[in-house]
Amino acid sequence: MDNRTIVKTDYYPDNNAEQDQDYAHPTMNVPVQPEARQHRRTRESLTHIKGWGADLDRKNRPGVPMERTPPRYTPANMPTPPAQHQHVEVLVSNERPGITPLHGTVQPPSGLSGMMRRAAFKYTENDLRHWLMLLGADRVNVVEGIVEDLAHGHVPNILGEMGIKSEWEHNKAGLAKKVAIAGVLAGAAYYLLKRRDERY
């Protein structure tokens, strides 16, 4: 037993990667000691932590049991709410009949992305195509957003929308790097195009 006490319960390694190596060998051939786990910190050693153990009583934890009937914070046997009047197109999962009594009405489907979304809702949530078509529609919708801005005479300030002001304030080095990379890429593209022009 005496040569097995290398794993000490009061010794916690720090985050030092070099130190990880120290562990590779000393414990070789040393049995793991489940009894080490029995040496738990005492309540007395944890009194400096405000509120320690305040919710120790399992029966008194607010989320136990996970399914709690009847509910404590809403009325028991509450009637289903009346159906919300549907005044815009709402896409509905086909894994359930009908529309829910409550629903969101913002940004109804429109344009090409809307057609893609309608098509996606022909598939169940269980079908991967449903989600992939929605992700595709999201990308198309971004282009539609820019077209719509321009149609309203608004040129979107894309760098502003990406937070360039805060990038300038808090990450000048990162911004300079991005500008430099963009510059190099633009330069390379220009060079390649120019070379191609010369060839023909």
Binding site: G51, A54, D55, M66, R72, T74, Q84, T100, L102, W131
Partner: protein, 396 residues
């Protein structure tokens, strides 16, 4: 009204849109006085959640003052100061009657798997969120909670998601006295999960992240041990070295699909979208927890699928519990903890940004600039009152 407006991945702006209206007799319209940007908003911001439509207003963590109520609302009146749980729920369905408010079946027509969440894409119901001057709140008699006069607005807004989610994460870990709890992620939810683990009687709390400023914060705030995963070799091996070679009793995933830390997961999950985000932290949780231990997941993943070592979970006999937080069932207890001085939620707020500058707010939070932990957005009309002035709106 002025509202946050999604234009595409990494692109948002503040823009005027029409005010929300009462669309159902149970609705209320709330004038927002504070809203937060949440780590899970970043999944939307990064374009990872299917059916995130251009023009959508995000924001599921907000408080405000009742401005108007529908004909069937009886318990709230104009002028009441309320906090609104991020779940939209009916109170009457099969799931609400079991207090699974995060899983309501009557408020999201678009998806049966996902509950309904303010400003969280059409996959979560298609409701605009609270990063705006006004917001439509369905089932006003059921979901919102009047803010007691002694609870500060900044504490109240963290009771809408971040604190209850962190608390429920610890609770789902089924912590026993003296347990070693590892929390992956030192964002707001991870910070609150670490703090809550002590309330449930943990003996050791270890928080893992890659950002030193956040680890420094959580070390002081939650009096825990910290590990920077960039400075260790293998994560599971490191946790085993720290835990008598057995593994942690409880591992908590407070990160979700935007995780860093694994090239393979980042490329397949975040860049190529071949899985519903990077499952790095799930992988670490399953492989770092002890046999028979508990894994608790509150980090958000997409609706498709993820590459996780489920065989190890089976062979180790792990119990995995997960859910969106049922905010309403935790708030009363959490208010008691705030009053008792056990926890000071508002201490994690690092940035107060006018709603007009929402683009920069998202960029700062997403890129972890300026040591950001929790940013809150203040709408232009936040300081107007329609009721007697309280401590909350006058003291700044």
């Amino acid at each position: 009204m002025l509202a946050m407006n999604y234009r595409g991945p990494y692109r948002v702006r503040a823009q005027y849109k029409s005010d929300p209206t009462i669309e159902h007799p149970g609705d209320a319209i709330i004038r927002v006085t504070r809203s937060c940007i949440c780590g899970s908003d970043l999944h939307l911001y990064h374009g990872m959640v299917p059916d995130t439509r251009v023009g959508h207003t995000f924001g599921h963590e907000f408080i405000g003052i009742i401005e108007d109520v529908g004909s069937e609302v009886t318990t709230l009146k104009v002028g009441d100061r309320v906090l609104v749980p991020f779940n939209i729920f009916c109170g009457s369905c099969f799931f609400c009657q079991k207090e699974l408010y995060g899983n309501c079946h009557n408020a999201n027509p678009q998806s049966t798997a996902v509950g309904s969440i303010y400003g969280y894409s059409h996959t979560a119901g298609g409701y605009d969120g609270g990063q705006a001057e006004y917001v439509r709140v369905p089932m006003a008699d059921v979901a919102p909670i009047k803010i007691p006069d002694d609870i500060h607005d900044d504490d109240a807004v963290l009771l809408t998601d971040a604190l209850p989610t962190g608390y429920q994460a610890a609770e789902m870990g089924d912590i026993e006295e003296g347990d070693t709890v590892v929390v992956f992620g030192a964002g707001p939810v991870g910070i609150f999960a670490a703090k809550s683990a002590w309330l449930f009687g943990a003996g050791r709390v270890i928080v893992v992240d890659e950002l030193d400023y956040r680890l420094e914060f959580v070390k002081n705030y939650a009096q825990c041990e910290v590990v920077n995963f960039k400075e260790v070799g293998d994560m599971a091996l490191h946790i085993k070295k720290m835990t008598d070679w057995l593994g942690a009793d409880v591992c908590i995933d407070a990160v979700g699909c935007d995780a860093a830390g694994s090239v393979a997961q980042t490329v397949t999950g975040r860049l190529m979208k071949m899985q519903a985000g990077a499952a790095t932290v799930l992988h670490w949780c399953i492989n770092s927890v002890r046999k028979g231990g508990n894994v608790s997941i509150v980090g958000v993943y997409g609706p498709t699928f993820n590459a996780v070592p489920i065989g190890n979970a089976l062979n180790k006999g792990i119990t995995m519990r997960m859910n969106q937080a049922s905010v309403k069932r935790h708030v009363p207890r959490l208010i008691e903890h705030i009053r008792a001085g056990h926890i000071d939620p508002k201490a994690i707020i690092t940035h107060r940004i006018p709603l007009e500058e929402v683009a920069d707010a998202y960029h700062i939070f997403s890129s972890k600039l300026d040591n950001c932990i929790k940013p809150i957005l203040i709408p232009p009309r936040a300081y107007e009152t329609t009721r007697p002035v309280t401590n909350s709106v006058s003291e700044e």
